[in-house]
Each structure stands twice: as C-alpha cells, then as structure tokens.
C-alpha cells in the first residue's frame, strides 16, 4: 500500500511540471504588457523598459521559467505587482473561506446526490426517478449566478433566514460560520448534485441488474442493505470518479459564487488579479488550484483500491 501511494505521488510530478509550464506561459499568451500596466498611462517608453528589466521580463523564456520553478520549489510564489505583498501571504489570507466553501459544498452535494441517485435507480421509471432526474437536468443547466441570486433573494431577503452576503471565519464559532456558508454552498452544490446524482443512478441501474444482487435477494437481504451495501459499493468507482472530476467544477463555481455572495476567498482574489494583470498572483492561484485538482484525483485513484478489491496498481 505504501509503495502504491509513493508511486502514484511520483507520477504526479511530471503532471505538475506541465501545469507549471502552462501557468508560466500564461504571461506570454495573455494579451497586455505587465510592465506597461504597472508603469501606467503616463509612462515614457524608457520607464516601461526599466520596469521590464526590473521584473526580469527581458531575459530568455526558458531561463526565466527555470528560475521561476526553482523559486516555487523553495515555496516562494513571488511578489504581487499590485500590492507588493508576497503571493503566498495573499493566498494564505484567502484560503480559509474558499476551502470552507468547497468542503461544505462537497458534503452537501455528496450527502444529497448519492442517496438521490440510488433511490432514482431503485425506483427507475417511476415518478420519483423522473422528478429526481428532472431536478438534475434543471440543476445542471441553470448557471450558478442565477441560482445564487434567486436563492439569496428568497432565503435571505424575503425570508431572512440567512445573511445575504459575507463570510464569518470559523474562529468566530462553527455555528455562525456554517450559517454564513449555507446559501453559497447550496448554490454551488446544485450543479455538482446534478452531476453526481445522474452518474450514481446510471451506475446503480447497471449494478442492480447484476447476478449478485439476485443472489443477495435470494439470501433474504433487505432492500436497504441491497441498495447501500451490495449495490453502492459496486457502483462506487464511477461515483468516486465523478466526484473527483467535479472538483474542477467546484473551483470554477467557487469563483462565481464568491463574487455573488461577496466571500473574500481565492476566487475573488484571482478575479481581482486578472482585472489588474497581477501576473504573480494569477500564476500562484492557478498553480494552487491545479495542484489541488491533481491531488484530489490522486486521492480518487487511491480510493479505488479501497472500494474495489480487483483494482491494484
């Protein structure tokens, strides 16, 4: 088991290398000259050139890439062009809200979607199945910002159950923290629920038609056990896979959700950085998001070996 983990971790290194190269290249691909942006409208060409040299933007591409890579490996993501703060500091300040949002969303989504998919498969082609899948189509096709504003309007403005906007750090108590996260999490979870529920239903439908389910029934196993012990464990591989893939959805959704609910997280940070052409910050956050995504999928690969004994690497 340890060697499996070790090998899988090693195999993520080339992936992260490619990600790093891409993130670094953003600076070249993206339109606009950071030196000119920093220098401002009134600057002379000499000023711009001086800033460019100061940032090291005049040196060859590969040289700068490897310097940057070494710097990252030391844990230094550079300094924000706009605020002059180290990027790591800026990220550290913003990690908690985003991480909280994603974890709560994940729990809500998995908690709702998996049972929903299982029941939909059990009651396939009945009104229960149809309404669950109808809900899934609705959830999948409605943009996050539309859902966000609708939910905020109804539950915050009209009913007043939850705050309209903002984030309460967990240090101020779990209750208030959770209270501030419910609406954004539900908003963000909707797409995710739709995705997971559909895959769960499809995987369970397949599993429930298998011979071993008939065997379990012939033993006198009850319906609940059939669904959640004999069935779900066999359907787990595609479900876990889609949960992992869906994290990308969460990252994208978090950027929008944080804007709708004014949560000071990484999503807001990167949106602001993009608007200001603050390349070190953009690179830092994108790198972090990519790293998390790779890590989640590594975790998914490892979970496979727990849910399905036939899978060995």
């Amino acid at each position: 088991m340890t060697s499996i983990v070790f090998r899988r971790v090693l195999s993520t290194i080339p992936v992260m290398g490619v990600v790093a190269l891409f993130v670094f290249s953003l600076l070249y691909i993206a339109p606009g000259d950071p030196a000119a942006v920093i220098a401002g409208d009134q600057a002379s060409p000499e000023d711009v050139e001086r800033i460019r040299q100061g940032l090291g933007l005049d040196r060859p591409y590969l040289v700068r890439f490897f310097e940057w890579l070494l710097q990252i490996l030391r844990g230094d993501l550079g300094v924000s062009i706009f605020t002059n703060l180290p990027v790591t500091t800026m990220i550290a300040q913003r990690v908690e809200p985003t991480l909280s949002l994603m974890i709560v969303t994940l729990i809500i989504a998995v908690g709702v979607a998996v049972p929903m998919g299982v029941v939909a498969a059990w009651k396939a082609d009945t009104w229960i199945d149809r309404s669950a899948m109808g809900f899934a189509v609705f959830g999948f096709s409605t943009p996050v910002f539309v859902v966000g504003y609708l939910i905020a309007y109804l539950f915050a403005l009209k009913l007043g159950w939850f705050p309209v906007q903002g984030y309460v750090p967990i240090a101020r108590g779990v209750g208030p923290w959770l209270h501030s996260l419910i609406l954004p999490s539900v908003t963000l979870a909707l797409v995710y629920i739709a995705l997971i529920a559909r895959i769960t239903r499809a995987a369970m439908l397949d599993v429930l038609s298998q011979d071993y389910i008939r065997t379990a029934k012939a033993k006198g196993v009850g319906q609940r056990q059939i669904l959640f012990v004999h069935g779900l464990k066999n359907a787990a591989v595609p479900i876990v896979t889609v949960i992992g893939i869906g994290v990308a959805l969460l990252i994208g959704g978090a950027v929008v959700t944080e804007s709708v609910f004014a949560i000071p997280g990484l999503g807001r940070l990167i949106v602001d950085a993009i608007l200001r052409r603050d390349y070190p910050v953009i690179q830092g956050v994108v790198l972090l998001f990519s790293f998390v995504y790779v890590l989640v999928n590594l975790g998914v690969d490892l979970v496979y070996t727990f849910v399905d004994p036939r899978i060995r690497y």
Binding site: K217, A218, G220, R310
Partner: protein, 330 residues
C-alpha cells in the same frame, strides 16, 4: 403433506408486444429430502418457475398466479417481509453463473456469514466462524484464509462451492439449484454434484434442480418434471422416464444426447435433433404445445390440448398418442 406444492402456477410477463406466458399452469410437488429435477430447453420456463417459488420475479412486469404451498403456507400470499425470512433460511438458491453470482467487492466469508446474521442472529464474529466452517464443509482447502478473500481470487469451481456453502449455511429445507453445473468444467461438474448430494443428506434438504443436462438428471434426481413452452408435459420417477419416456418431446430430448464414443465405433449416424424452435409464448397456443415440432402430430393434436394423464403408476404425460398402461413400467 409434501414439503413444496406448486399448484397451477402461472407466471406471465407483460411486454410491449403482448403477454409472455413464461409459465402457464404448472403443478408439481416435492417431498422432504427428495430431489426433483426440472428439465427442458432454454426458454421453457424452468428458471422462471424457480424464481417464482423464491418470489424473485420483478413485479411488474411479471405476475405469478396459482398457489405455491411451502409447508402448507401459500408463498404467493405472504408479505414481502415474511418472504424475506424464508429466503436464504427455509428455501435457498444456487445459480448458474458462479462467476457473476458472488458480489465482487465483499469478502467471501462475509457473504456466507450474511445469511447467518440475518436469519440466525449471529454476531459478526460468530458468523465469520460459521462461514469458515461451511467453507471447510464444501471442501475448500485453507478455509480460514479463503474466507478473507474476494470472489475474483477463487476459481469457478471454488466459487460454486462458496455458493453452495452460502445456500446451505442456514440448513434450508429446500435448495433450489438453477443449472448449478452448466458453467463449470466437466470434471468440476461431477465434484459439485457429488458435493450437493452429500450435503443434502447431511442437512436433510430437498433439492429442486433445474437443468437441461440429462446426464445431471440421471446422476442426482429421484423424480423428473419435463417442461415445454411453459407447461409440464411429463413427470415420472427418473428410472421410468429414462426407460420409457411417454412424451415425444422427452424422447426427442433423450435422443439428442450424444453417446460417448459412438463415432469411434464407426457409427457416424447423425445426432437426433428436435426440428424447429420453442414456439413464441406470447400467443395462446391451441392444441398441444409441442404439436408444431412433433414427428407424431396429427390433426387432433393441433386442435385439442392433451390433458396430463397417468399413463403408468406415478408416470404422467400430456400426449394423445401415448397409451395408458396398467402394469408398472420397468
């Protein structure tokens, strides 16, 4: 009172293009400790009969009618909850495909222990111990280690042994075996049949074995029911059936069995076959169900369905042309 009495069982399936009469009025009974074989071609309703007894027919589209009395209680009238108590405890079942009939993600020991925990209220540890005991009983070497393995780590023969261990764990009164050896190698088949016979005596269970393999029938059965197109066409003690089949279909089945070494002796005669295929079960058949393929069929067969008659003691068949006899068949 017989252990199991199947009385005019009808199991029909509603399909988009009509009702499929998979089992259409079949009756038979099994005594305590007896082995009854149900034989017939694919699609004649053997498996559906077995699934109907277990009440494992999905409803809808399926629907069973008639009576299935087990120790006098009509299983078709029990609630799902009562039926769940019977499945795996009083009546258990072995299936055709040992490769796919075990749950791939649960350990073998746990799968055997599951019915013990359900029906005998054993705790996890006790069930595990009993499972190891059962594995030993079905002749699996190193039962302790095997109990901790997953189905994919076992061979086909071993998996079928596991299925048997699972089915017999609660000492059922009736074991239904649906083509238990069909998917196995010939050498393994004999072992599995031996094992079933051996354990049946030890547990005192009756067996309902479903098969299309007349070799298996000769090997294990006391009595035989021959099914065709959802009906029973003949029923007899196994010796009588093989010695003097009363129904043309049974004769056809027996004739279609290849004789070992027959081509070596220079006899290159063609294997007898039954021409045609089983008729669609979606149209109501007037007359004898076998008339379309029967070499002896005449007009009367196509017009009137023959009743099941006792042609000889304990030997019933449904055929207009099979004579009744007074003396016992050999």
């Amino acid at each position: 009172m017989a252990l199991l009495e199947v009385d005019r069982l009808q199991t029909h399936f509603r399909t988009p293009d009509g009702v499929n009469r998979a089992v259409d009025g079949v009756s038979f009974s099994i005594e305590k400790g007896e082995t009854l074989a149900v034989v017939g071609e694919s699609g004649c309703g053997k498996s559906v009969t077995a699934m109907s007894i277990m009440r494992l027919i999905a409803e809808p589209p399926g629907k069973s009618a008639g009576e299935i009395r087990f120790e006098g209680r009509d299983l078709l009238k029990l609630s799902e909850k009562e039926m769940k108590k019977i499945r795996g405890d009083d009546i258990s079942m072995i299936f055709q495909e040992p490769m796919t009939s075990l749950n791939p993600v649960l350990k073998v020991g746990r799968q055997i222990g599951e019915s013990l925990r359900l029906h005998q209220g054993l705790d996890r540890g006790q069930a595990e111990d009993k499972a190891v005991e059962m594995l030993q009983l079905v002749g699996i070497p190193e039962p302790k280690r095997r109990a901790g393995e997953y189905p994919h780590q076992l061979s086909g023969g071993m998996r079928q042994r596991v299925m048997i261990a699972m089915a017999l764990a609660c000492s059922p009164k009736l074991l239904i075996a649906d083509e238990p050896t069909t998917a196995l190698d010939v050498t393994i088949q004999a072992q599995i049949l031996d094992l079933m016979r051996d354990l049946k005596d030890r547990v005192g269970a009756a067996i309902l074995i479903i098969t299309h393999d007349l070799g298996v029938v000769a090997e294990v059965a006391d009595r035989v029911v021959v099914m065709y197109a959802g009906r029973k066409v003949e029923e007899a003690p196994v010796r009588d059936l093989f010695a003097k089949p009363r129904h043309p279909y049974t004769r056809g089945l027996l004739g279609a069995v290849p004789k070992l070494g027959s081509s070596l002796e220079g006899k290159t005669e063609k294997l007898a076959e039954i021409p045609g295929i089983v008729p669609s079960l979606k149209t109501k058949i007037e007359g004898c169900v076998f008339a379309g393929r029967c070499p002896e069929a005449e007009d009367v067969c196509r017009e009137f369905a023959p009743a099941l008659e006792e042609k000889a003691p304990r030997h019933v068949a449904a055929c207009h042309f099979s004579p009744r006899e007074q003396e016992a068949a050999a």
